[in-house]
Symmetry: C2
């Protein structure tokens, strides 16, 4: 059948019209929180061995460099401080923490419609990272990124159905003062999107200022604490097996401020973590379990995302690589370990090593994104827009990532098997005395939208139609979409009086 031929006379226009009306949420083919877990790279025995090795590492090796406050929390909880300054975690302490930790957490959006329920194998995709370059896709150029780029990214994410949260993907390189940078990062993200936002405080002393800003956005501390819509990404560990002293102090502050934490262990397999996939996962699990003990020692049940984020390394050059098959396995294996513990977890996927949104970027981003989703990862961080092994962020790629992730989500949704979908009745009716095809059956027409994900920018035309349309270029179309989004006023902007009050108190770099 040629794609010049409508399925039945007159049907095409009707179908296109039907499709242009927005579907009710429960009828959408994909949505946040679909359940993965159909892909299991590790056997039960594999997971038990990783768990045992992690417990042994915590009991025998432990972690160095906890801040004095952390030592106090942790020894009080049952950790043992050795003469070598390392805190060791007896098996019972870890098991006890695992038994009591918060298993079902909500990451709130500023708009409750964007709340993320983290439990089981529910999958969510979003941005993250600390890119230092903005990628100009059409100009094939890298330049330093700034606060406007970050705000634009948040505004684009706000319009993309398959980007479920917005952890800041790039650093405001145009704000040299770190406190101002942290505050403007919050402002740039929160005024661009009502989805859940992730930030990362540079110093413990900055947290109170950040909280003051968040209280203003929320409309008061009580409202903030009721629905904290920003989480803090805590690189609480310097792998291998050392606490990041200052980041731990930040963590203590944000916990007190009611902010959910992402316990991020970002070892590099072959450098700061073992080069083997199983070893890198084991170390990340050990480190994150230590972090979980820490969080629960500060405040039992505080919402924490287990962030086992081991990264791959190209051992030929010693450079980081995030686009590899090894990376996809690292992330999928970690997702399975989260489920082994039944804890909310996140890891990195969707990273391209490619500098541009080209074919390489496409295969790299899909490989780890779809495997992360199929393995049931709750939070797939860095899922869109990331290039050059995390050094560059690209707005056009982010927009294309929405199509890519929509497809990955369709795969996560999987195959429904029931009497209707098995379609034996249809088959009988169609083949025996029927039309000999399924084009007009009720099920074909009725499930056209609810079963199928249609790409927004991905091109499915025939070569003939494609030529007639002037051979549209994917990147150009993404750029046009970006301009369309950024040409509209932000739908997430803060109320005028709130914005004014914030600008009076803080040095906001974005124009009002």
């Amino acid at each position: 059948m040629s794609d010049q031929t409508p399925m039945r006379t007159g049907g095409r226009a009707a179908r296109r019209a039907a499709r242009s009306s927005k579907l009710a949420d429960h009828l959408r083919p994909v949505r946040p929180g679909l359940k993965g877990g159909q892909y299991r790279p590790l056997s039960q025995l594999d997971m038990e061995r990783i768990h045992e090795a992690a417990l042994t590492a915590l009991a025998q090796i432990g972690l160095a460099d906890a801040p004095p406050s952390g030592r106090a929390y942790l020894t009080e909880a049952g950790a043992v401080l050795g003469e070598d300054g390392r805190l060791r975690f007896p098996r019972a302490l870890v098991e006890d923490t695992l038994a009591r930790a918060n298993r079902e957490i909500t990451l709130h959006g500023r708009d409750p419609a964007h709340d993320l329920e983290l439990s089981g194998t529910r999958v969510h995709y979003g941005t993250a990272g600390a890119a230092v370059h903005l990628v100009d896709a059409e100009g094939r150029n890298y330049r330093e990124c700034g606060v406007q780029d970050l705000h634009d990214a948040a505004r684009i994410c706000e319009q993309l159905d398959n980007i479920h949260f917005v952890q800041r993907p790039m650093v405001c390189r145009d704000i040299p003062d770190n406190l101002e940078m942290d505050l403007n990062t919050i402002y740039a993200c929160c005024s661009g999107t009502r989805k859940h936002v992730g930030v990362s405080f540079t110093e413990p002393g900055f947290v109170k200022h950040g909280l003051a800003l968040l209280h203003m956005i929320a409309g008061g501390e009580d409202k903030w604490r009721e629905r904290p819509f920003v989480s803090n990404s805590n690189c609480f560990v310097v792998p291998p097996m050392r606490f990041a002293t200052e980041a731990c102090q930040v963590m203590e502050e944000v916990i007190k401020g009611g902010m959910p934490v992402l316990l991020l262990s970002a070892g590099m397999a072959g450098a700061t973590a073992p080069s083997t996939i199983a070893g890198a996962i084991t170390q990340a699990v050990a480190e994150c379990l230590a972090g979980l003990v820490y969080v629960n020692a500060v405040k039992p049940g505080h919402p924490a995302v287990v962030g086992t984020w081991p990264f791959g390394l190209d051992l030929r050059s010693g450079a980081m690589t995030g686009g590899s098959g090894e990376q996809a396995l690292l992330t999928a294996g970690c997702a399975q370990m989260h489920k082994f513990y039944d804890l909310p977890g996140g890891a990195a996927a969707g990273i391209a090593d490619s500098k541009l949104p080209d074919m390489q970027a496409g295969w790299e981003q899909m490989c780890s994104n779809v495997m992360a989703g199929l393995s049931g990862l709750n939070m797939v961080y860095e899922a869109a827009g990331m290039h050059a092994s995390l050094l560059g962020f690209c707005h056009e790629s982010l927009i294309l990532g929405d199509d890519l992730i929509g497809q990955a989500l369709r795969c996560v949704r999987g195959i429904e098997v029931n009497d209707e979908t098995l379609a034996l009745d249809q088959m009988r009716a169609v083949c025996m005395g029927g039309p000999g095809h399924y084009l007009g059956t009720e099920q074909t027409l009725g499930r056209m939208q609810v079963d199928h994900v249609y790409p927004a920018l991905g091109d499915r035309t025939s070569p003939k139609e494609w030529q007639e349309r002037g051979k549209p270029d994917l990147i150009e179309r993404a750029r046009a979409r970006k301009e369309e989004i950024l040409g509209q006023p932000s739908t997430a902007r803060l109320p005028e009086e709130v914005d004014r009050a914030i600008r009076e108190r803080f040095n906001i770099h974005l124009p009002g």
Copy 2:
């Protein structure tokens, strides 16, 4: 760590030198026949329901349009011819066939090093299809493809480690006579590669000529029958549930000639198959089981690949789409059904809807390719080079597909968990009194090649290095590699006297 910094002084050159020497096959990080199966989109109950529905369809609906010879074979075997002309398959007949069918088949290469052992969840990737256009990637153009393009594709495949077989991916549009086209297809493929080749005869009467040619290439009928290095792709069915009369006659001929068959059922979900994924799989399974009964009725135990190839349809336009998540699920679900029956199976993956090897093509090709591999599909057909929903084939994309599939294969290989890979000893040594990193450990250096897949053309440089190198373009690099390969004499060319004899007997269109 910047990728400007070698992992240790003097180590980089040594590592690069070590890497440039070819690895022994058993030390290569990926190879043909790696075992998949870690991804299971269907539960055991799902599979049993699909099996039951397929058996019911075969018993109650059956298949129309068998040729007289097929009716004879099948009724003799136990099928029942109805007054409506449909052949119905009693449950016992199908179960009996399933019990006796050939479960472990070898698809031979002309070079035994390329033999493919099809059993269990062993995964192989290769080309296939019937594209009518060659895609000029740099010129962004589609033109009709010919025999030289096909030969070039075979020669390129011969040099790509991760393309394990060469089913003809495009049609020789420059040879109007169908018999000449079929014979030249065999010649163009077999003189370009020593890997297993797939072709598809147009008419039953052509088979004897093709066999004559193959006997000459093999060095005699006995040698051919000992190691048949070409299989026939048999579209034996016109979905839904009708035998393709002439293709069935072709099938009977090739079976007699000792040629393995691919039992190909290519329904389009929503047109010639139910629109639901489960329904399309069910119908494909039913059709292929009928085909399997047929093959075994002609010659018990004859090597057959169960080719459940349901394709996706974009229901908005009625056009075929092969790059979707739905397609990846169709293929992965089929792979699981093959394993349910423990039969050698194949399906389509790696299809791009995109017209060019761009980011969309990358994500489309990776999505279904990696899911097909993880689901343990024995033969992943159409895995590289396919664009425009199978209408276009692209040499540059084929070359990039080698990197893409290498990465997918790394994912299929999975995560090894044992005492060495858990790396607890390394962790202990590194953290307690050791260097605090894993860069120089024996395991890191020793496993650098055997654990990691390095892309040939995929770019992992830093933005700085990329700029210094003049921002290399992926497609340009693929084109340069193509010219390098095609600039060398074919390593698969036939012995001169054989070639001369073939050219005396047949009208070979390729220049000698």
